[in-house]
Point group: C2
Chain length 232, copies 2
């Protein structure tokens, strides 16, 4: 199955963008009449037929839609990006592959990185979506301050990865399927006591992701994996 | 906490190897009397004091052992390596970080890679162990044929990641804590019907790792994560 991405599908656009047209026509040597699949990244997955083998603007006609069943739980990961962008890129790739609806980036007082080019992360998400034959592209938000993020968070189920040694609660035991579940992952230096308090005051609950000391990006992937296993 | 690795600790070796000596003395500028931690990768985690700031052979004396509590379940991952070695290296890094006791590599009929330099993977495991302050280094086995592997597998709990659409069984529901649990992950092209049958004949049980189509290395990490969550 050859899956292509056209975000404007629902607005009636019936051709691939330049990069994907080149890939389809020059690399894969697809011809007029070839069958492909096209997704809008919003759950629609169309069978399509190439009508114009143009390597800059490859035209197609839609045949049948095989919409992806929406995941029961809205999976939202909020994370302080690592200094090393490769680690964030693999997190976005793996989280998209396992399944995530939204990834938000935050600046914390212990953050080693406060600037992120989200376009590269979105490219990683698009290729992971195509590779894993999914029709849902996660929303990737521009980085904002932790305080700013908290003020705008409206999820029903809010969790912050922060080990409470007196009363450890494992994430998998508190996920509410069918609702929006958001998990906050702090920077390598962890959340500051003030940030933790702000989150608790905003209705977040402390959760543990297990007994191992995990790097930021590994903790993010572990949280997404749990949201998929226990949110269905 | 500065953690160093000396596999020969239990044989009485009281100095760091060349690479770690250079790192300790030249990079970290540690002096005689500096406190460090040293592990043998077998669960022993010693507090130690540098007695000879030699940048080729940094001597130390052991103070106190803080042995790591052994994980209740023996976590064994058996996987057909991906063509791209970077993906295997990150799997080894992340699996070590989350917690795994043994990683075995197999050659399957659909394998794209049949030769692997395990020394690079072991290096990744060592740095991940030190980074995550663990005292357990996973055993990484040389690659063998699938048939050869099956003939020598003696684990009590044997699972093969292979989706059975009639009767899907999720890995987390069948893990037996306290025993050796082994999970087989096939190549990108999956196990052949013959290989699947051989595994079933050897007492392996088909398990699912969730609803998403996962790449080999992602499936491997998902299995390790589940062994840690449900094996404790």
């Amino acid at each position: 199955m050859l899956l292509f991405y056209q975000p404007e599908l629902t607005n009636g656009v019936k051709h691939l963008d330049a990069d994907e047209s080149r890939h389809a026509v020059k690399v894969l040597r697809l011809k007029e009449g070839s069958h492909i699949h096209v997704t809008d990244g919003h759950g629609n997955l169309y069978e399509a037929r190439i009508t114009d083998e143009n390597h800059r603007k490859c035209g197609f006609e839609l045949l049948q839609n095989h919409p992806e069943q929406a995941f029961r739980t809205y999976r939202h990961l909020v994370i302080a990006p690592t200094k090393n962008m490769d680690r964030m890129e693999w997190l976005v790739e793996k989280a998209t592959e396992i399944g995530v609806d939204r990834i938000s980036l935050i600046k914390c007082s212990n953050s080693e990185r406060t600037v992120v080019k989200t376009d590269r992360l979105i490219k990683k998400a698009v290729s992971a979506m195509k590779q894993s034959l999914k029709a849902t592209l996660p929303q990737v938000d521009e980085i904002v301050s932790f305080k700013n993020y908290l003020q705008n968070e409206t999820a029903q189920q809010k969790f912050i990865a922060y080990v409470d040694f007196e009363n450890p609660v494992e994430l998998q035991t508190v996920i509410h399927p069918g609702e929006e579940n958001v998990v906050l992952i702090g920077p390598e230096g962890d959340f500051s006591p003030e940030e933790l308090q702000m989150a608790l005051d905003s209705g977040f609950r402390k959760v543990s992701l297990g007994t191992s000391r995990l790097r930021t990006e590994t903790a993010g992937l572990a949280a997404v994996h749990l949201l998929n296993l226990f949110g269905k």
